[in-house]
């Protein structure tokens, strides 16, 4: 074996070689596991975190929002952040996503808008702002449309097709009608209507009617950042993992932390070397390897996997692994109203949306735009609810909590941050995690285009609040990318040219033909919309391609998929 620096534990039996090894069992990994096992392949999934059953989740704000019950504990799994290479990195909980079976779909409330046709050709439409690495995607909306539909129908997404007038054409409506309207949603519709803006119920990973044997989603207050004890929200954990297990071909191994992907003499992936719950090192061989750890952790694993063929990290001859990282930024205008809003109803994110500012419009003075939506203020639960000018302590705090807790909501934005060459994920040279591996170091400087978009959109959101009757409005302009969306993209961008991309349009590494990355890493741009629906649709597309090719090689009679 070349490159492996871990001593494989001798007393444990080496596991059987798999057809497919997927690293990470979150949104993209579970999607691929479902698709590939349903095509008859033997899939081993190595997930570094636990496999939490729904009974272990609960409605506990303190545990889930304040005590890292689902999020990585920064003492065990820190990251570091710096604005630029000249600054000292600081330990931060940058862009946390639950590291467990189900990944980010465990803690989300699941806003699932589709990207639009123009998202895939923004560079052509809008040009490339100076200092950015904005590019078109190597695939189009048309390539993804069938897979959007598959995911929506597998999940039972609740929404209303055709109400968002900026939505690109869809082959099928949503399987479930929209969720009930919240008071914050209703205020948003009123404000938009007064200003002549189109608005629509946010498509969500929740059931408004019984679907595929699953009951209607319980509308608890404990949803955003909480796991779902009822199993009625739609997630990779509640839908795709059970689907894959049903096939009998899915070997899901939790608490197995992959430290390295090894390569053979020809430079193809040979095995994943992981540490199991006992601390032993196990080598898992396979034909094809899929990285599905999230864009930060997948890049980190590639960079950790150094060998004589790949001294800068696996598939990183181009030095592009980790670069062009984008994270979105959530920011909001906040409105105070006379009548009660109860923004904790449904957990605060049974939302209403608009794509009125989504498409690029050069008259605004910046490139692109983004999704806006009405929601609670931050986590709108008693401990973590806040207003921007609330002091730290004293009688005034109590008065503000008492008067405004039930009377506020936010119109948030999903800032489309521009990709930049030097905004990147690397290995930290000082800080290690509890397993002794270097942590991800994020270098990220907000671009002028991001600042302009943030100011412009927050001002529009404030106008909607005003039109909806807010008596007081706060504008929170984003001034840096803090990772507060838990969205990650771009670190292994896909493209047609190996000099400017890590993966081809099938998310297959240009340099290693049995290696694929299927999380948000392949996204050349983050776009202005929540990414997970597209991550799952793209993972399904790639898995379909891999499965068809794999089966055609095994069974020559199979129709061979064309590039």
């Amino acid at each position: 074996m070349i490159g492996c620096r871990k001593r494989i534990t001798a007393h444990k039996r080496k596991p059987e070689r798999a057809d497919i090894v997927i690293i990470g069992a979150g949104a993209s990994g579970a999607t691929a596991a479902k698709v590939l096992t349903e095509q008859g392949l033997r899939v081993v999934s190595l997930e570094r975190g636990p496999w939490c059953k729904r009974e272990t989740f609960g409605g506990d704000e303190l545990a889930n929002v304040n005590r890292y019950n689902l999020w990585p504990d920064p003492i065990l799994n820190p990251r570091t952040y710096r604005e630029s290479a000249s600054k000292d990195p600081k330990i931060e909980l940058f862009c946390p996503v639950p590291q467990m079976v189900g990944g980010g779909t465990v803690h989300w409330q699941g806003w699932l808008p589709r990207f639009t046709e123009n998202d895939f050709r923004l560079r052509t439409n809008a040009g490339q702002p100076s200092g950015t690495t904005l590019v078109d995607w190597p695939i189009s909306y048309r390539d993804l449309e069938p897979y959007y539909t598959k995911v929506e129908w597998a999940f039972g997404v609740s929404g209303a097709g055709g109400v968002n007038k900026y939505e690109s054409s869809r082959s099928r409506d949503y399987p479930c009608p929209p969720l009930p309207t919240t008071r914050y949603g209703r205020k948003f519709y009123e404000g938009c209507r007064k200003l002549g803006y189109n608005s629509f119920p946010t498509p969500m990973a929740a059931l408004s009617r019984p679907y595929n044997g699953r009951p209607v989603t319980v509308q608890s207050a404990f949803a955003q950042q909480h796991g779902d004890p009822t199993g009625t929200r739609s997630s990779a954990l509640s839908v795709f993992v059970p689907d894959a297990l049903k096939t009998g071909g899915f070997d899901l191994r939790p608490d197995c932390y992959v430290h390295e992907i090894t390569v053979d003499q020809r430079g193809r992936c040979k095995s994943a070397v992981y540490q199991d719950a006992d601390g032993d090192f196990i080598e898992q061989e396979g034909d094809i390897f899929l990285l599905a750890c999230g864009a930060i952790e997948s890049a980190r694993l590639l960079l950790l996997s150094r060998s004589s063929q790949f001294p800068r990290g696996l598939a990183n001859g181009s030095d592009l692994v980790g670069r062009n990282a984008t994270f979105h930024e959530y920011s909001a205008a906040v409105g105070v109203f006379d009548d009660p809003i109860y923004a904790w109803a449904g957990g605060g994110y049974v939302a209403a949306s608009s794509f009125e500012f989504y498409e690029h419009d050069e008259k605004r003075g910046f490139v692109s735009g983004c999704h806006i939506a009405a929601a609670g203020v931050g986590i709108p639960l008693p401990i973590n609810w806040s207003l921007p000018d609330r002091p730290m302590w004293g009688a005034q705090v109590k008065q503000i909590d008492r008067d405004y807790f039930n009377h506020t909501f936010a119109i948030g934005m999903v800032l489309h941050d521009m990709p930049q060459h030097d905004n990147r994920v690397e290995l930290d040279d000082k800080v290690t995690d509890a397993w002794g591996l270097p942590v991800a170091r994020i270098t990220n400087k907000i671009h002028e285009n991001d600042l302009k978009m943030g100011r412009w959109v927050i001002d529009r959101n404030a106008e909607i609040l005003e039109a909806a009757g807010a008596k007081k409005i706060y504008r929170v302009y984003p001034d840096r990318i803090s990772g507060n969306c838990s969205h990650q993209h771009g670190t292994t961008r896909m493209g047609d040219d190996p000099k400017s991309s890590v993966l081809n349009k099938w998310c297959q590494a240009h340099e290693v033909d049995n290696l694929f990355v299927i999380d948000g890493g392949p996204f050349p741009t983050g776009t202005g919309a929540n990414p997970t629906l597209t991550i799952m649709a793209n993972a399904w597309r790639v898995a379909d391609y891999i499965g068809a090719r794999y089966n055609s090689e095994r069974k020559p009679s199979y129709q061979r998929t064309q590039f």
């Binding site: 003492i75 209703r186 906040v334 986590i379 730290m392 948030g412 507060n484």
Partner: protein
């Protein structure tokens, strides 16, 4: 053992908490028992996570237990030092123990402590759970990076508003104050019986009718 503070420490922190969320015509931190919440939190790692069905607390193991032991050690040290600072300020400025000061004197002292606090990076960057420079959007604080005073205000808030199983928010004092119609118990949420549907909009949008021209309201 379910406590950490000695009698003096406990009385001092309880008095400070009573100024952080004061009692007016409605109960405050004192009546909600936020000191119970905090003393229990600092007692070790037996009260970190309630079991989601409310039947007790999780037993932490392996690395998770190690991390929490470390965190609690760090927090305890901050409290021990912070209480010493309150004592010193109180005796040099007023010549008396903090608990025997008037409410106004206590407020003055706490204001001085707040001003002396170098805000931790988490506070500056708007990620602290309690006093963000902007709304706490999706982030929470890295607790151990906070200085004593912001930490005390954070824990007071947590004790006032967390599920009563953690020892504070007694008689749902905090929730009643702000009108949060939370579940009767963790078990209600766990079993799927807690619903917020009564707090959704009364009149629903008819999306079948609105399909092609956006919602009328």
């Amino acid at each position: 053992m379910e406590t950490f503070f000695d009698a003096h420490q406990r009385a001092t922190i309880e008095a400070a908490m009573a100024r952080i969320i004061p009692t007016d015509d409605q109960p405050g931190a004192k009546e909600a028992g936020t000191i119970e919440f905090l003393d229990r939190y600092l007692s070790g790692i037996d009260f970190i996570y309630a079991k989601p069905d409310g039947s007790g607390f999780e037993k932490l193991e392996t690395r998770r237990a190690e991390a929490w032991r470390r965190r609690i050690e760090i927090l305890r040290a901050k409290y021990v030092e912070g209480i010493k600072e309150i004592d010193q300020r109180s005796s040099s400025r007023f010549g008396a123990a903090f608990i025997s000061l008037t409410a106004e004197q206590q407020d003055r002292l706490l204001t001085e402590m707040e001003r002396a606090t170098a805000p931790g990076p988490a506070v500056l960057e708007g990620q602290a759970g309690f006093t963000p420079a902007e709304p706490a959007l999706q982030q929470t604080s890295t607790e151990i990076d906070l200085d004593f005073f912001p930490l005390l205000t954070l824990h007071t808030r947590q004790g006032f508003y967390s599920d009563p199983i953690y020892g504070g928010n007694q008689d749902r004092t905090g929730w009643k104050l702000i009108g949060f119609e939370g579940p009767e118990s963790l078990a209600e949420t766990h079993a799927g019986r807690f619903t917020t549907l009564p707090f959704f909009a009364k009149e629903q949008v008819d999306w079948m009718q609105e399909k092609n021209h956006g919602p009328q309201t």
